[in-house]
Symmetry: C2
Subunit: 328 residues, 2 copies
Amino acid sequence: MTERIRIAIAGYGNLGRGTEAAVAQATDMELVGIYTRRDPESVQPLGAGVPVRRLDDIDAHREEIDVLILCGGSKNDLPEQGPELAARFNTVDSYDTHARIPEYFEAVDAAARKGGNVSVISVGWDPGLFSLNRLFGEAILPQGETYTFWGKGLSQGHSDAVRRIPGVRGAVQYTVPVPAAIEQVRSGSRPTLTTRQKHTRECFVVLEEGASAEAVREAIVTMPDYFADYDTTVTFITEEELRRDHAAMPHGGFVIRSGDSGAGDKQVVEYSLTLESNPGFTSSVLVAYARAAHRLSQAGETGARSVFDIAPGLLSPRSAAELRRDLL
Amino acid sequence: MTERIRIAIAGYGNLGRGTEAAVAQATDMELVGIYTRRDPESVQPLGAGVPVRRLDDIDAHREEIDVLILCGGSKNDLPEQGPELAARFNTVDSYDTHARIPEYFEAVDAAARKGGNVSVISVGWDPGLFSLNRLFGEAILPQGETYTFWGKGLSQGHSDAVRRIPGVRGAVQYTVPVPAAIEQVRSGSRPTLTTRQKHTRECFVVLEEGASAEAVREAIVTMPDYFADYDTTVTFITEEELRRDHAAMPHGGFVIRSGDSGAGDKQVVEYSLTLESNPGFTSSVLVAYARAAHRLSQAGETGARSVFDIAPGLLSPRSAAELRRDLL
């Protein structure tokens, strides 16, 4: 048997825990360390015997790590950590601030090239698998429209925005695609859809004692960018209900390409995800791309890559001949 | 503007015509010739000014062709043509005899390497895009099951089998996925499904004068491999109805991966196609992979490839930076 790929994790929140569990499912990988900015003593890994260390000490372990999976957030962690760690390790991350991907790619690419490493950025489902399906859609059916719907699922950014409103003690926000819009798109009719026609937003809010439900509701539904352009419902619940009914992190969505092939025939391609756990799935994608990063690095490649640049066969532990025989 | 990719087509049936139409949609390509084993005078291309020539004369035009798209059949044409033409041209084909893909790959690979060409085999939707989704499914969710459903769609092979029965003047066969089975799989329950539980088969048959409907029905529903393991319905229609109602070639299907990510959460990934024209879509996929074949050849690569070996970005006429900015 060939050597197992030695994986380390930087950052141990929901995504880090998911990554630890995903590595445990990969028979060709082993987890050699979890690196955190917190006190390592305060971190309890799922698996026994996995060393937890300070992120500041990671350089001492460079020779033990084939690929470092970055599990920090896109807002505060990755813009710095991505390039910094790409200079020293092969990395995979889930950077998801769509508008800033070009500059992030450039920064990581420069660092990875200098360090002789491979770094796969923006891996997950969106960006990631949804991006791939947008690309396949327009490359195969150049005359047509692509539609992306998200949900039903818990949106971290929108939940945080609600939590920042004065008088809110706790909250979650679900993004819900409008069924009629999906049906219209599936039918091949290629409608022009406004923001409001594509998704609704459902908020479940626990109020601080004495807070005005009406004022909080108003602050939510009029919030620019986040809610003003949507039909938003606000339901007030107890802290116990929040804990009991809204602790999971389901998500999902659809990418639909509706196009005409050359002779005018309507062709509809749909990709959809129904996820019980968003971080659980995202981390499974990260781990598959860590395998690809390792192989590209072994082949002598360097620099940043996105999912667009990676041959799908590199994601599988199986040989090219096996894949052709069993899956083609 | 860069030079356009010069495409030629070998074989001018439904797939060849679809390919001609798909090349016309690609702004970075031009069709430089249609090559046929029939009398070129008998072939009427869709586009004015496209030269139609004898396949036997193709070597005289080697310098004008960047990629040759092979539009022959998998049973009689490609096993010979694939390796022969891969020795002289960059090629793309839709070889779809799943069980023989390994030997076909080896033969084409040897010829393409010797000739210094790139040949992408087994391109289309199954094999092709469905294969990719089977691969992504098991690479990302290694603990789970993959289900492939076909249809509703016209199956050429099964239609031919019915047409060979004595007393049958004309026939079409539709493969129909069982809705209850799809729903079960979508729910994440991972059932074990027999052949009969996954698909039904619907035949529409025109009888020869004086033929026995009962004998023909019996011959169909008991035919081993093709029908015996399925619930099959046979409907007798007139020749006019066959022409009027069954001339289109719709198809489609589903690839569903249902798996548990590391912490035990259920995750369901579904890819589905609803195609008004099977050859129209297959040829659109061929043309996108012809772009990739050209680029790989330009980069100095040689040998056979499958969809598993090709970075998705190579399918798009757009630059890597544009793709990251607009689609990632």
